[in-house]
């Protein structure tokens, strides 16, 4: 590129770059809004069809508005126990996985030790393994457990173990991200003022990384409630909510499925909006 050509471009922008600037200014905005419409389209369908009054067993065509599905959300046999099981698993799995993940994150960010690379690899691997392989391999372990005199029947505990397993890595990644940008001087100040390591951890470190721990908890909870594949391989005859939906999809889709889907969506979005609101207020104050 000669300097003369470049000079010309500087003083009189050519048509191409002006078109590009226009694209960036307006078309991009319109496109992005269309993208969000596309993202919301299936969700709108889920919400709208939760008020449908379907004629047959399948809830695919609009027949008319009704509140019945919301009033009788648990009228379908098995749906309530499936939701209860999903929530129980998600609660325990997210607490245990976040606790274990936070400890790993602390070790990884705070300490230099032998075996760091291996540790990072073992954390990274479950995230990059297809779910079906995670599910099949864990189920194989449980299947073989009997021949080692350690019979673990498929059910609540195998589902819980599976969920903790695939949540740990997400918890580590979430907490680690926060710990890396952490101001060590605050802890040093506490130590200088005579606090021992434990007091410093409880009074200084923990409150500062609390938002990350909360984020990890919510993320693990969301992933756990939503999981189908790994659960399906390890559930035995237990039915979580996604397994209930899977079974229903073959024979009938009661609109109550949409009611629960809408409710989970509503709760999650409300929690996230509150979080965004708090962050924005903090940003303004801080």
């Amino acid at each position: 590129m000669t300097s003369i050509a470049a000079e010309g471009r500087r003083t009189r922008p050519n048509a191409l770059s002006r078109a590009w600037a226009f694209v960036l200014r307006h078309v991009l905005t319109v496109y992005s809004l269309l993208f969000f419409l596309y993202l919301m389209l299936p969700i709108a369908v889920v919400i709208v069809f939760s008020f449908n009054h379907p004629a047959g067993r399948f809830n695919y065509t609009w027949r008319g508005f009704t509140w019945d599905n919301w009033l009788n959300w648990n009228a379908v046999p098995g749906i309530q126990s499936a939701i209860t099981l999903s929530l129980e698993i998600a609660l325990f799995a997210s607490i245990v996985a976040t606790a274990l993940g936070t400890l790993i994150a602390l070790a990884l960010v705070r300490y230099g030790f032998r075996g760091r690379g291996t540790t990072n690899l073992i954390i990274f691997l479950p995230l990059s393994t297809p779910e079906i392989v995670l599910g099949a391999s864990l189920a194989t372990l449980f299947l073989h457990s009997a021949s080692y005199g350690l019979s673990i029947p498929f059910g609540f505990w195998t589902i819980l173990i599976a969920h903790i397993m695939f949540c740990i890595s997400f918890a580590v990644v979430t907490v680690k991200a926060r710990l890396i940008g952490f101001d060590r001087h605050l802890e040093e100040a506490a130590m200088d003022l005579g606090a021992n390591e434990w007091t410093t951890f409880v009074k200084v470190t923990l409150p500062l990384i609390a938002p990350a721990i909360l984020a990890a908890l919510l993320l693990c909870f969301a992933i756990s409630v939503d999981d189908f594949v790994v659960t399906y391989f390890n559930a035995g005859n237990q039915v979580t909510f996604p397994i209930f939906v899977w079974g229903a999809a073959r024979v009938a889709t009661p609109p109550q499925i949409n009611v629960i889907g809408t409710a989970i969506f509503g709760i999650a979005v409300t929690l996230m909006l509150v979080n965004v609101f708090i962050q924005n207020r903090r940003a303004k104050q801080g």
Partner: protein
């Protein structure tokens, strides 16, 4: 990241912190992979049980019997990943560079749809893509139905499966793209423009290369789960659109042919690993670790 500032305890503190979580992952993630490998070399039947016999033919018969499904998995996953990248890059760019104080809210909009259970979301696509739905009618009036659909349908075709996969893994693409675009130092782009680069040149010579870590992370995070997926093919496709995930699922959970399912799982992982390594070489391996 420099490790100089880290406390170099000689003691066992880091190992004590690691122990419970790592032990859990070793016992319930690494050891099971070993069991799966062991099982992939077993032979026998449901009735008489399976025994370890170094049955390597599980691998060869998986490839010869289900080569189509393997190939289809990677083709579908590849197309879906490419579409997801093209579709979400402009949006990630828009949020990162023009989002202003709305950034957090816009990110929430990207993540929010994915709080509706995966299976319910996919069932909603069944409704949208059904024969009397909006998509089929629009494509029909544009005379595109013959190109994208089959006999006037979209549902139960490869198009529907790819559309479902694309949609279901979008945040895995959009969020890493956003993170890398958001970290770009705007003064670098200004510098390029001061040095007489047009906006277009500045984008392709500065912005895009700097966003490559996000592109790499996004494509991997989308491609890997997409290649192993079976839900979209099950709910949106027909048996002629089945992917290797469907085969593994039916072998393991319905036909109780554990050795075949185990062998296929390992082939799936091996191909993914090989593709990731080729990809890493192509874009530069340092981009992978970011």
């Amino acid at each position: 990241m420099g490790l100089g500032f880290l406390h170099r305890h000689r003691g066992s503190t880091p190992y004590l912190l690691l122990a419970p979580g790592m032990l859990f992952l070793v016992v319930f993630f690494l050891v099971p992979l070993g069991f799966l490998a062991y099982q992939s070399l077993e032979s026998g039947s449901i009735d008489f049980g399976y025994a370890f016999t170094w049955a390597w033919d599980n691998y060869s018969s998986a490839i010869s019997g289900y080569g189509t499904q393997f190939k289809r998995s990677f083709v579908y996953a590849g197309i879906a990943t490419a579409i997801a990248l093209l579709v979400s890059y402009p949006v990630a760019y828009w949020i990162a560079f023009r989002g202003g104080r709305w950034k957090n809210l816009l990110l929430l909009c990207i993540v929010a749809p994915f709080f509706v259970t995966y299976l319910i979301r996919t069932l909603a696509w069944q409704t949208i893509l059904s024969d009397n739905g909006l998509v089929v009618r629009t494509l029909g009036s544009l005379h595109l139905l013959g190109v994208l659909g089959q006999d006037g349908h979209i549902l139960a075709t490869g198009t529907a499966v790819v559309a479902g996969i694309t949609y279901n893994f979008l945040p895995f693409m959009a969020l890493p793209l956003y993170v890398s675009l958001e970290q770009i130092d705007h003064t670098l782009i200004e510098a390029a423009e001061d040095l007489y680069a047009s906006k277009l040149t500045a984008f392709f010579r500065v912005t895009f290369p700097l966003s490559l870590p996000g592109v790499v992370a996004g494509t991997l995070l989308t491609f890997i789960p997409a290649a192993g997926d079976f839900i979209n093919a099950q709910l949106l496709g027909s048996t002629t659109n089945h992917m290797i995930g469907n085969v593994i699922n039916s072998k393991y959970n319905e036909l109780i042919d554990y050795p075949a399912a185990a062998a296929m799982s390992f082939i799936l992982m091996a191909i993914i690993l090989a593709l990731v390594l080729i990809y890493a070489r192509a874009v530069g391996s340092e981009k992978l670790t970011g």
